[in-house]
């Protein structure tokens, strides 16, 4: 640490060059922050803290096929099952298809199984008591400037009403939110009463989209899942039951191999960065050969010289990465504030910071290694003579 001013002096020797290199490093780590935030979102979509004890039962053939409601009692009676609820995808459109958000018809005990979706008790009661009631996530409320008591018309894409009308109007009676900032994306949804939905829709009555089961003991989740699937084995509506995490992970992986795309981009970026900073460091050391020789002459050991050059490059990279990640944090924060941005992002948290800074140290040591060796190995006499 006592050589810190030497490292600083070396960096300040050519301010423009240091500044330009710093900007390049900053750009690379800004990109790293943004992309890693997207990747983390998709990675963790299946592994939220909540939902480890929930199972999702869907039709084995496809998520889009419905299941008979008669399964409800049989799942309820399965050993190890604590609570069961069910829901149906509605796919309604609010004003314009671009305003996409999830909307589902849910059974009246739905929120019991999702305790992380916080809703005032009075509003939940109002939801149960209002046939056409709907509960909406906080984020969606802010996006569309809705308030309790509003009437929300949705255009049905799948389910017309019995008279043939496509317009379903719901009364906004409740607002839920999630305390965990990582799960804020789940606030972009609207839920309404299953009973109203089933009575009013033109077809499909008596069928449900999927079942959600809360298991009594999460360690026995697999056995319970198998027992549920056994209920309908060899029938014409076989089911597939998996944990909510596995279900979400499989669902997300259908969009694209995010990991591959992000990995390829970051590969290109860091390859360039290594070359770029490597070149800067080589130049910096080449220019300073006589100075390094003087240091050695006055008693600096080979190892200190090696350490000085290595810390110089590591310091440059770490500084750049800190600035880049900080800017990425601001941008992600801003983007997540505006709901419904096209690309979902995870907040820049400790894990991303750690990954970024570790990467910076690693690249710093890597690109510093060759110039540092050169500094360590130089012979004082030759260097001072300018040979």
């Amino acid at each position: 640490m006592k050589y810190l001013h030497l490292v600083f002096a070396a960096l300040m020797r050519r301010k423009t060059r240091t500044l330009f290199t710093l900007f390049s490093v900053l750009a690379a780590f800004l990109l790293f922050g943004l992309l890693d935030s997207v990747r983390t979102f998709f990675d963790q979509a299946g592994s939220g803290v909540a939902g480890v004890d929930r199972l999702i039962t869907i039709s084995k053939v496809s998520f889009t096929l419905s299941l008979p409601k008669s399964l409800l009692q049989r799942i309820q009676a399965t050993p190890g099952v604590a609570k069961v609820t069910y829901a149906n995808w509605f796919g309604g459109i609010y004003q314009d298809p671009k305003n996409f958000f999830a909307n589902q018809a849910v059974a009246d005990n739905f929120f019991d199984l999702y305790p992380e979706r916080l809703i005032p008790a009075a509003q939940l009661r109002a939801f149960h008591d209002t046939r056409t009631g709907a509960v909406v996530g906080e984020a969606l409320i802010q996006k569309f400037h809705w308030k309790i008591g509003d009437k929300i018309p949705l255009q049905a894409t799948i389910f017309p009403q019995k008279g043939g009308s496509n317009t379903w109007t719901f009364d906004l009676v409740g607002i839920y939110h999630l305390a965990d900032p990582k799960l804020k994306a789940q606030e972009n949804a609207l839920f309404f009463n299953w009973d109203y939905f089933d009575e009013a829709r033109a077809f499909g009555n008596g069928n449900v989209g999927w079942y959600v089961t809360k298991v009594a003991d999460r360690d026995r989740a697999n056995q319970v899942a198998q027992a549920i699937d056994a209920l309908s084995a060899n029938s014409d509506h076989e089911t597939k039951t998996q944990t909510e995490q596995a279900f979400t992970a499989a669902f997300v992986s259908q969009f694209a191999d995010i990991g591959l795309i992000v990995g390829a981009i970051m590969g290109a970026v860091f390859f360039t960065l290594v070359l770029l900073t490597g070149n800067t460091m080589a130049q910096a050391v080449r220019e300073r050969i006589p100075e390094l020789a003087v240091l050695k002459t006055i008693g600096f050991s080979n190892r200190s010289v090696l350490g000085l050059v290595l810390s110089e490059s590591a310091a440059l990279l770490v500084l750049g990465s800190l600035l880049g990640l900080a800017i990425a944090g601001i941008i992600v924060g801003g983007l997540r504030g505006t709901v419904g941005s096209a690309i979902p992002m995870h907040p820049i948290d400790g894990a991303i910071w750690l990954r970024g800074v570790l990467l910076a140290v690693l690249i710093g040591l890597l690109v510093g290694a060759l110039p540092a060796m050169r500094g360590m190995r130089l012979r004082i006499v030759d260097a001072l003579a300018g040979r």
């Binding site: 390049s24 690379a28 014409d236 981009i265 080589a282």
Partner: protein, 437 residues
């Protein structure tokens, strides 16, 4: 103070102008500019000076190989990533766009947006086919195909995870509607049989769809009897007989859409108006081109935003890399440039030659990046979730337009990265430069 503001504004202009010019620049204008530059260098005094100074600069590149490589590789990275990402969007859009035509129309239930959401009863399908604008074949039957789109979950080859595949029941006339479809292995499915033919893209992405293999859907065994190639989004489908698919998925005689061939593209408006005025029908009508274009919009826009954002950030990094390299290049040539100035060379040749050198390196990087993107990703197949809630298989499409775009980015980075060092070189006081060691 005023001078500083002027310098700052000048610098901003130096950055904004090249970007603005390059974004709108058509290739022929650039060609004319290059020719003019060539003439200038060949026939005017300043031009010949510039040419000789540039030659010296280029000749010394091998001595600065490491730092010159930074410019080339940095810009290659930007252009490569940009072209690859945009090629993904272009490929997806092209696949869907090819699927549609102006003289075929698709009819779905009013408000349904996509086929998967739609349900049409048997009567509707019959009424649509009987519309006068529907073309009749040699036997006098209307060329209309009532189709039933359902989804099955099958494991993907790449990761073994289940993904959705579209199963499309097609009518007898579907082959006349889609003359581009060729059976490339096996045979067509038999009417009334539980047989499927598999699109080329689906066969490549999903496991267990080889010729002769059987798969279980809703408790019933189906056999894969053929493979087809349509060259468009249908390649992601499995096709079977509408009636059989309907019974397996308990859909009765209902379908999800009717696709018809119109007498000609101009008949569409009359066709649409005719169906809209029929009170027995509640349907939406689109030309298939319009229908598939709409489906491509969302994802294409997302990819364009993503690609441009990543490209801009990488470009900023590359500009600073280029600036570093060129400032260093100018610094090592300080004495040489001062000597040139002392023996009478003007400022313009020095500026232009440094700029040319940077642009040359940038173009080299741009070409390299575009070539790598083309070699690695042209026709690279991928799939994503389409609007029918099932996988759409598409190939990356590295178009000449994208390559040209990439090259323009390289040029912009080169011009910005070279301009400031060039000005520095020209403004250097001659006496101080000559004394420089």
């Amino acid at each position: 103070m005023l001078r500083k503001i002027g310098l700052f504004l000048g610098a901003v202009a130096c950055i904004v102008v090249p970007i603005a010019v390059l974004t709108v620049l058509p290739w022929w204008l650039l060609a004319i500019f290059v020719v003019l530059l060539g003439c200038w260098m060949a026939f005017t005094r300043t031009g010949t000076q510039t040419w000789s100074v540039t030659q010296v600069g280029i000749a010394t590149i091998p001595q600065r190989l490491g730092s010159s490589a930074v410019v080339v590789v940095g810009i290659a990275g930007v252009v490569g990533v940009l072209v690859a990402l945009l090629a993904m969007g272009a490929g997806f859009a092209a696949t869907l766009r090819q699927t549609g035509a102006d003289d075929t129309a698709i009819v779905i239930r009013a408000g349904a947006q996509t086929e998967l959401n739609s349900v049409l009863d048997h009567n509707t399908a019959t009424l649509v086919a009987q519309a006068p604008q529907v073309l009749k074949n040699a036997q006098g039957d209307p060329i209309a195909s009532p189709e039933l789109v359902v989804v099955a979950s099958l494991p993907k080859k790449a990761n073994g995870l289940d993904a959705n595949v579209e199963i499309r029941g097609i009518g007898e006339r579907a082959w006349e509607l889609r003359p581009n479809v060729k059976i490339i292995a096996g045979r067509k499915f038999g009417l009334g049989l539980r047989e499927l033919i598999v699109g080329k893209g689906a066969a490549a992405q999903f496991a267990g769809l080889d010729l002769g293999s059987s798969l279980k859907l809703n408790g019933e065994q189906w056999t894969v009897v053929g493979e087809f190639d349509s060259g468009d989004a249908n390649n992601s489908d499995l096709w079977g007989d509408t009636a059989v698919v309907g019974s397996a998925y308990r859909r009765g005689s209902s379908t999800t859409s009717v696709t018809v061939r119109l007498t000609d593209a101009a008949a569409f408006d009359a066709f649409k108006a005719g169906l809209a005025s029929d009170r027995r029908l509640q349907v939406d009508v689109f030309t298939t081109r319009n229908y598939y274009n709409t489906q491509a919009e969302g994802l294409t826009r997302t990819i364009r935003v993503l690609g441009t954002t990543v490209g801009i950030i990488m470009a900023i990094g590359a500009v600073f890399g280029a600036l570093n390299t060129m400032y260093a290049a100018v610094a090592t040539r300080t004495r040489e440039i001062a000597t040139l100035r002392a023996i009478g060379f003007r400022a313009v040749p020095v500026i232009v030659s440094v700029l040319l050198e940077t642009v040359l390196l940038a173009v080299l990087g741009g070409v390299l990046g575009a070539a790598i993107a083309w070699a690695l990703f042209d026709n690279y197949t991928a799939s994503t979730l389409g609007s029918n809630f099932s996988q759409v298989v598409f190939a990356f499409h590295v178009t000449p337009e994208l390559l040209w775009n990439g090259l323009k980015w390289a040029l912009a980075i080169g011009v910005i990265g070279g301009l400031f060092p060039a000005i520095r070189a020209a403004r250097m006081p001659v006496t101080a430069g000559l004394r420089e060691m």
